[in-house]
């Protein structure tokens, strides 16, 4: 326990150190320019102080990002347009909606693929093709098309999330549903079990470990999808919109805090799935 903590803390500290160092390097030209205009000469400590406290730095420092996140999380009403919680919730709701749709679609497709040879041969290539199209090219089209048929707000983003998240679910569940070996299927046959009984009693329980791996990948993909869905013009709320508006106005601190909020959101969602997984595995006596 403590043993594994030491390397984690060491690495984290190392990253923070490098980060501070890069803040000095990247922000110094602006600080030096400013000093030159005012005919000042900066000592090293003055330079460091300046690069670590600019209003629009090229690379904000960890404490600037941390303070911004604190401020926009706890000091703003959560209904405020400047609250990180507000924007986080917008993105989270699209992520969850897309994740659920993607999971449903993925599981249904996997069931069809495993039980029907024709579906396997005809649908699988399309599923793989669908993932070779860059989502950045597809996202604006989905937004435009769905807004033209009256879907705005959450729905188009959820569709993009679904588009990204159903894929790991299909692939994982097909593998999981096919994981029973020939002997297990033969055994079922000796009892004259129907395809449906084989599915319920054997295939589904055996696919649970695969499902959880897929759910984690799918959740991460959903979040990416929701954020990408907020990038095309029009979106005014959500972590993606925060990143975009931050870049319009050079608000790097805002971009970074939205970025970190997204990372924390992803980690929490995946962590939540891991918790449920641990609980289910324990009940099902599956070794982790």
């Amino acid at each position: 326990m403590n043993k594994s903590l030491i390397p984690i803390v060491t690495i984290s500290m190392f990253i923070v150190l490098i980060w501070y160092a890069f803040s000095i390097v990247l922000n110094s030209s602006w600080a030096l320019d400013k000093a030159e205009r005012n005919n000042q000469k900066l000592s090293f400590s003055e330079l460091v102080h300046d690069t670590w406290s600019q209003k629009k730095p090229k690379l904000p420092t960890p404490h600037q990002v941390g303070y911004e996140m604190w401020k926009t999380t706890f000091d703003k009403k959560i209904t405020s347009k400047r609250s990180l919680v507000y924007h986080g919730w917008i993105t989270l709701s699209a992520t969850l909606a897309g994740f659920m749709l993607g999971t449903l679609l993925g599981v249904l497709l996997a069931l069809a693929i495993v039980h029907d040879k024709a579906t396997d041969l005809s649908v699988m290539p399309w599923i793989i093709t669908s993932q070779t199209i860059p989502i950045l090219a597809l996202a604006p089209m989905i937004i435009v098309v769905s807004s033209s048929i009256g879907f705005t707000g959450l729905m188009p983003k959820a569709i993009i999330s679904m588009y990204l998240s159903f894929f790991p679910i299909v692939v994982g569940m097909v593998k999981g549903l096919r994981s029973p070996d020939l002997l297990e299927i033969d055994q079922m046959k000796t009892w004259s079990a129907s395809q449906f009984q084989i599915l319920i009693k054997l295939r589904l329980p055996k696919s649970i470990p695969f499902l959880f791996t897929s759910l984690k990948l799918g959740m991460a993909a959903s979040l990416v999808g929701a954020i990408v869905g907020e990038l095309p013009s029009g979106a005014i709320a959500g972590l993606g919109a925060r990143m975009l508006s931050g870049s319009y106005y050079g608000q790097t601190i805002q971009i970074w805090s939205a970025l970190f909020a997204a990372a924390i959101l992803a980690a929490s969602l995946v962590g939540l799935i891991s918790l449920i997984q641990a609980f289910v595995f324990k009940r099902m006596m599956i070794a982790q």
């Binding site: 002997l183 297990e184 033969d186 055994q187 079922m188 046959k189 000796t190 009892w191 004259s192 079990a193 009984q197 009693k201 054997l202 329980p205 099902m284 006596m285 599956i286």
Partner: protein
């Protein structure tokens, strides 16, 4: 014991088409098994013992010849749940308790909850594992797991038991014990048993009929009717009658190998 024929195979042939050409797994196999028989199948690896059992169970289809189980086709017999099949590995589901594992075929067959409970208790008693109903498979030794798999095959009360090297992976001491238990079980349930083994003493000790097979192509070399008494303590293996039968099995196996 009546002389009712339970399994009847006539000039059975089975050729597998593989990438390396056809494999003649069974050639001109003829066999009659009567009700209450304990038949052992013995022979070197690849002589078609498993294949023969799988044909009886409708898991493989013969390419020629006829076979009937209880007078009907293997498919009809399987669908009427005429047999229980015990595989070499116990094949228990790790996420189900021992009791729930035995219930599995009963659930599939749509047997009522109360009857399931009764039957689980009954068969666990038969294999002397009454106290293990709530345990999980990993909490049991390999021999115990194999007994559970036998209990599971007994649970739906089929008259025929097909067993493919059920004790193959176990050590000799456990094996002796399970052989004794299996004989007792056979006496008390009056089932017809087909039993695949690699062990001559095991075959002689258990059987009323020993089928000696030989590979390439898989065929029957000899069928030995055993005249050993029904009651068989383990010490019977030192009697002259026992050793004579074992000798005949050994000669059959050697004859099948004469080309090597």
């Amino acid at each position: 014991m009546t002389n009712e024929t339970v399994i009847s195979a006539k000039s059975l042939d089975l050729t597998f088409q593989t990438n390396d050409g056809p494999v003649h797994a069974l050639k001109d196999v003829n066999l009659n098994v009567t009700k209450g028989d304990f038949v052992s199948f013995i022979g070197p690896s690849g002589c078609g013992k498993t294949t023969f059992l799988r044909v009886m169970a409708d898991l493989d289809q013969p390419t020629d010849g006829t076979i009937t189980i209880n007078g009907v086709s293997p498919k009809a017999a399987r669908e009427s749940r005429a047999y229980g099949y015990v595989f070499q590995s116990a094949g228990l589901y790790p996420w189900r308790t021992i009791g729930k594992n035995i219930r599995l075929p009963l659930e599939i067959m749509g047997i009522s909850k109360s009857e399931q409970k009764e039957r689980v208790e009954k068969v666990l008693k038969l294999v002397e594992l009454e106290d293990f109903e709530k345990k999980f498979p990993w909490q049991l030794s390999g021999g115990m797991q194999q007994r559970v798999s036998i209990a599971r095959a007994l649970a739906f009360d089929a008259d025929i038991l097909l067993m493919d090297e059920p004790f193959g992976a176990l050590d000799e001491i456990v094996r002796d014990y399970l052989n004794e238990q299996l004989l007792k079980l056979w006496h008390s349930t009056k089932k017809t048993i087909c039993f695949v083994t690699h062990s001559i003493p095991e075959a002689v000790y258990l059987s009323t009929k020993i089928v000696v097979m030989s590979p390439r192509p898989g065929r029957i070399i000899d069928i030995i009717e055993s005249d050993l008494p029904d009651k068989r303590p383990l010490e019977i293996r030192d009697t002259k009658e026992f050793i004579d039968i074992a000798q005949r099995v050994r000669e059959g196996l050697r004859a099948g190998h004469s080309y090597e």
